[in-house]
Symmetry: D2
Subunit: 341 residues, 4 copies
C-alpha cells in the first residue's frame, strides 16, 4: 500500500487518474492539487466521483504532497519541471504525464515547447514510461516520463518492425486520429461542441509536438534515425486514438504476423488481432489495452493501432508505470474492460 | 433592395444571419461588425462563407453602419441598448436578436438581466418580433425585438389555446430541450465537446431568463396572467429545440385539432402535423419552419413543438421580421428546407 | 461463488450483463446463449471482451443452462416465459430483464404486449426487482422481474412522495428522455446513426409499455390509483435516462428535501443531491447509481432523476437482485463509477 | 426547364437529390420511384420535405419515367444496368449515381461487384461524371456515371499532380475518412447509432470497391498505371469525406502551390486554400464544394481534400452533370453554402 498524490487534478487526464487510483487495491490517494480549484471538493468537479472520495483540492505546493510515496503530474507542460527536483530530493517518486521529461535534448525541448528547461540535469535520469519498451528500467526509476497519447499508439504499432531492424523503404507514415479529450479541458472556442461535432479535420501538419517524441523513441529502439510523416486529425468523439501506419517492407505477411504475435504474446496490454481484423477505438474505451491489426499486400504493410488516449495514452499507462516502480503486479487496478456501447 | 448591417457577427446567431442575408434576393449585406475580430475577413471565422463574401469585420460603431437601411444586433444582452437610440435617430431600422427590447417593464429587465436598462423609453415602442402574433404591427416598426428561441417554440405551441381563451387547469408545463448552439460560441468549459456530448441534463430550473419573456407574451395575447413551469434541458446536438407542453383542458381532441388547423392554415412557417405525428428536430434543421403536433387523452393535452433555434428561433425569424418591415414577401430568402440526414 | 447463465446474450443488455458478471467476485459465468450466434465466440460480438472470456454462445435450451444456479434472461419480450417454468422446476433461480413477469395481470400483459401469457400462474410469485422497494422480498424469490429502464428512473424519483402518501394535485407528469441503447441492438432503420444523431423527438406518446408498469408499482406502494402522464423521448447519445418529474404538492421544499434525504440515506445506489443541483446523465454512465435532485417553487415540485439505462435500468439492477438472492453484499460487483468524460 | 425523375428515391442519396432538384430553377421533378415505398408520399419518408412536394413514390418501371427528359438512378449497384438501355432507347438521358457504369472493363466490374454486367455494350459510351476532368465530354453524353464519394475527394486532391505528370516516388497513399451517411440508409446492425457513435475504425483495407475506380480515373488522366494504397475509415458524423493524401515528389512547395492554384482557379466547386490551412469537413457540409489544402516538407507532399459525400460526392455532382448535359449554368441549383455550426 502506498500513498499517492496527483498534481493538476482538474483536467481530463487528472480526473481519469483519480478514478483509476481510487479503485486501485494497493493505493491510497491522499492528495489532489489544483491551482484554480484549491479548497473545493474533487467530486464537485468530477460528479462521477460523488460518494467515491471526500478529497478536497489542495494548493499546488510541496507541502501538500509531503506524505506521498509517489506523485503524478497531470499539469500543463512546464509545470512539473519546477517542482520535481524538490520532490525527488524529498524521496518522493514522480510520474509526469506532461511532456517535461520526455525529450532527452533540452534544446529540442525548448524548440518545441517554447521555453528553456528548468532542470535539464534530470533529463538523462528520467525513464520514458512505455513499459513494453522500458520494462527493465522503470522499476528502479525515481522519475518516469509517461509517453504522449499519439506516441503510444504509433510506437507500439511500429515496435516489432523497428526492433527487428527490418528495412523500411521510404518514410514511415503515421496518419493518426484522436478523440477530443486528448486536447484537454480548457475553455477554448476550438474545443466547443459547436466547433467539433459533425466535423473532421487534420491539424498541425508537420508541426505537432509528438513528432520529435516518436522519432526519439524509434531511434532509441533501433539505434538509427528514422524518417516519419505524422499527421494528427480530430475525430468528433470523446476518447480514442486510431493510428493508421503505412510501411514499405520486404518481408511476407506471414513473417510480419509471426513477428507481431511473438513480440506481443506476453504483453498484458497489447492485443494483436487475428488476420483481417479492423480494431475499433470503442473496443478499448476506458481500458488500458492497445489493439493492433496488420494488413499487407505485396510489400505494403498497414498497421492499425487503437488505444484510449486517456488510459493507455495517459493515466492508465502512468498507473502501469507506478505498478512497476512499486513492485505491484503490472496490471493492478487496470483490469477493467471497455463498456459497449 | 436594401442595405443591411449585422452588429456582433462572430457568434453562431451572427453567422447564421450572415448566411441567410448573403442568399437573400432583396438584401445587400454591407457591414458586419465585431469588437474582437475587426479587420479580419468574415470568411476566416466562417469558413463555409469562403467565396460567398469578401466582407471584413468592421469595428462596432455607428459609423460602420451609416449606409444601412436596417441593422441587426446579434450581440450579447446589453449591447444593443447602447447603440440603438443613435441608429434610430439616424433613420436606421433595427432588429435586435438579443433580449434588450423584449421585456416591457424595465424593472423586470433589470431583475433578470442584472443591469439597468439604458433606454427604457424605447421599450414601449419596440415590437415583439413574432410574426404569427404581431404581423400587423411589425411592418411599421422602427425597432423589433426578435423573440428568444425557447419562447418561440413554446409560444407557438400554446398560441391557439391561449388565443382562444380556453380554460387551462393547473400550470402550463413547458419541458423544453435545446441543442448546444443556443448557448452561443463562447469559450466556456461548460460548452466543451468533452462536457456536453454523450450527456443530457436540465439547467436553470426556475431561473431561466426566457421565463418572464414567455409569460409576458402569453399575457399580452390572452389579457390575463398565466402560470407557467418552464424547465430547459441541454441536448447533445448542434441545433434544434423540442418543447413538450402539458395542458389540462376541457375540449375534445377533435376540437383542439380543428383549432390548431385553422389557426395555422395560412402560416407559411408553422406546419401543423397530422394526428399521431411526433416531429423530430432534424425535420426543421436549417429551416425557418415550426412543426407542431398534438396528442390528447381525456383532458390531458400534449403539444410537441420543434424549431431550429438558430433559424426560426433567431436569425430566420429576424429575417422574417425584416421582410415585413421592408415590404418584401414574408418568406423571401427563407425557402430552404432542412437537409436530411 | 455461484454458477450463472445469460440467455439472449447478443444485445446491449446482454453484453452489459456479461461485462458485469465477468468482473463479479462471487460469480462464475458458465453459459451465454444466443439463438442467432450459437457456436461463435462471445468476444467476436463484443470485442471489448477479447481476453476477458473464452465463452462461446450456446444454443438457447435448458440443457445449456443445467449447471447454473441462476439464469438471467436478456431476451426479447415473450421468450423468457416459455423457458422459465422448466428452469424453476430444475431448481434454477431466474432474473428476467424483459417484461414477461413485470405485470401482475395477464390481461394487461396481453393488452400491451400483444400475446397471451404462457405461464400466468407464475405472475403472482414473481418479485418486481426494484431493491429500493422490494428489498425484503427479493432474497427468498425464485423468480425476479427486473424493472424497465424508464420505470426505474421514474419510480425512484417519485418514491419518497408516493410512500409518504403525500397528496398530489393533478396528474404526475414524467417527461422522460433516453439514450439510444435503450432501444436495443436490432437492425432497424429508425435506430441508424443517420436517423438518430443530431435530432431529438418524442415517441409513443400515450402508448409506451412502461406506462402500465409504472402505474402498477406506484399503486402497489401507495395502495391507491395514480394518474400518470408519461412521455418518452430519444436523445442522440448512447446511454442514460433523464426523468423530469412534475408534481403539485402541499409540503414545503424543506419538508420534501428531508423526506428524500431520509428515504435515501442508506441506499447504496441512490444519491440524493444538494439543493440547486442538476444531475447529468454522464455522472452515472456505466455505474449502477441513480442521482436525484429536487427543485421547488410554491407548490410546484420538480424532480430530476438520472440513471444509466443499461446498468441501474437493466443489467446492474439485475445483478443487484442476484446479490440479494444469493446472500452476497448487495453492492458486490457494482462498485465502478462513471468515466468522465 | 426539363422534366426529371429519380429512381430509388428512398435512400440518403435519393433524398438529397430530391432536395436539390426541388430547389433547382430549371427543373421540374416529375417522378420519384421506390420499390418498397411505392404509393406513399415522399414527404412521409423525408419529413423535411413536408410542404415542398406532393410527390408520391411511383413503382420502379419505365412507365413511371416516360415523361422525363432525364432520369437519375440512386439505386443499389446492379439496378440501373437493368433499366438504362430501355430509357436510352426512349430518348431519355441518364445519370447513374451507383457504380454500374463507372468501370470500363466488365470483367473488373464483375470481380468487384460480384455479378455479370447486364449491358457491357454501354460501358464505353458512359461518361465518368467528374466535370473537373470530363467537362468537354459530359454535355453531349446520353449516359453519365457519377463518381463515387471517395473517388471524388481523392481524385480532385491528386488531379493537378497527376495531370502534370509529375514523378511520384512510391505509392500514392490515400488515407480516407467518411461520415456514416456514405453507407446508405439500410437496416444493418453495423450502422446503428449504438455501433457507430463514439468510435472510429478502418474498414475494407485493400478491399474497397472504390479502389479500382480511382485507379482507372488516374490512369485515364495520365495515360499510365499508378500504384495506390487506399484505406477508408468510418467517422462518427453524418456527412463529410476527408482524404489525407501522401505523395513523394521532386517539386518545391511553391511550384506545387502554383500548380494547384492555376488548375483550380476557374473551377466553381474546387476551393484551393491558402498556405497553412486545414480544411474541415463542416466547411462544405450540404454544399457542392471541394476544399483542398497542401502542405509540404522536403519532398513529402500532403494534400487535404474535403467534400460532402452526399453532395459533391453524389447528388450535387450528379446535378452538376445534369446542368452540363442540359445546357444550364453549371452551378444552377448548387449555390447553397454550408450551415455552421
Amino acid at each position: 500500500m502506498i500513498s499517492v498524490g496527483v498534481v493538476g487534478g482538474s483536467g481530463y487526464t487528472g480526473g481519469e487518474l483519480i478514478r483509476l487510483l481510487l479503485a486501485h487495491p494497493m493505493v491510497e490517494l491522499t492528495a489532489v492539487t489544483s491551482r484554480t480549484l484549491a479548497g473545493s471538493p474533487v467530486c464537485e468537479t468530477f460528479q462521477n466521483l460523488r460518494g467515491a472520495t471526500d478529497l478536497v483540492f489542495a494548493p499546488v505546493d510541496v507541502e501538500s504532497l509531503r506524505r506521498c510515496d509517489l506523485v503524478f503530474f497531470a499539469t500543463p507542460n512546464g509545470v512539473a519541471m519546477e517542482l520535481v527536483p524538490e520532490l525527488l530530493a524529498a524521496g518522493i517518486k514522480v510520474v509526469d504525464l506532461a511532456a517535461d521529461f520526455r525529450l532527452k535534448d533540452p534544446a529540442v525541448w525548448q524548440q518545441w515547447y517554447g521555453m528553456p528547461h528548468a532542470c535539464p540535469e534530470l533529463l538523462d535520469e528520467a525513464i520514458y514510461g512505455l513499459p513494453e519498451v522500458n520494462r527493465a528500467a522503470i522499476p528502479s526509476a525515481r522519475l518516469v516520463a509517461a509517453p504522449g497519447c499519439y506516441p503510444t499508439a504509433v510506437t507500439l504499432g511500429l515496435l516489432p518492425v523497428i526492433e527487428a531492424g527490418l528495412a523500411v523503404h521510404g518514410p514511415l507514415i503515421a496518419d493518426s486520429k484522436s478523440g477530443v479529450s486528448g486536447a484537454g479541458r480548457n475553455a477554448s472556442v476550438d474545443l466547443l461542441f459547436g466547433e467539433v461535432t459533425e466535423s473532421f479535420h487534420a491539424y498541425k501538419v508537420f508541426a505537432h509536438r509528438h513528432h520529435p517524441e516518436i522519432l526519439q523513441t524509434l531511434a532509441t529502439i533501433s539505434g538509427r534515425t528514422h524518417e516519419l510523416v505524422f499527421v494528427p486529425h480530430l475525430v468528433p468523439m470523446l476518447r480514442g486514438i486510431h493510428a493508421t501506419l503505412y510501411l514499405q517492407i520486404d518481408e511476407t505477411e506471414q513473417a510480419i504476423r509471426q513477428l507481431y504475435e511473438q513480440r506481443y504474446r506476453d504483453e498484458s496490454f497489447v492485443d494483436f488481432l487475428p488476420a483481417g481484423a479492423h480494431p475499433r477505438t470503442r473496443n478499448v474505451r476506458g481500458s488500458n489495452l492497445n489493439q493492433i491489426a496488420v494488413h499487407q499486400q505485396g510489400n505494403q504493410l498497414i498497421v492499425l493501432s487503437v488505444i484510449d488516449n486517456l488510459v493507455k495514452g495517459a493515466a492508465g499507462q502512468a498507473v502501469q508505470c507506478m505498478n512497476l516502480m512499486s513492485g505491484f503486479d503490472e496490471s493492478a487496478g487496470l483490469a477493467a474492460v471497455a463498456q459497449l456501447p
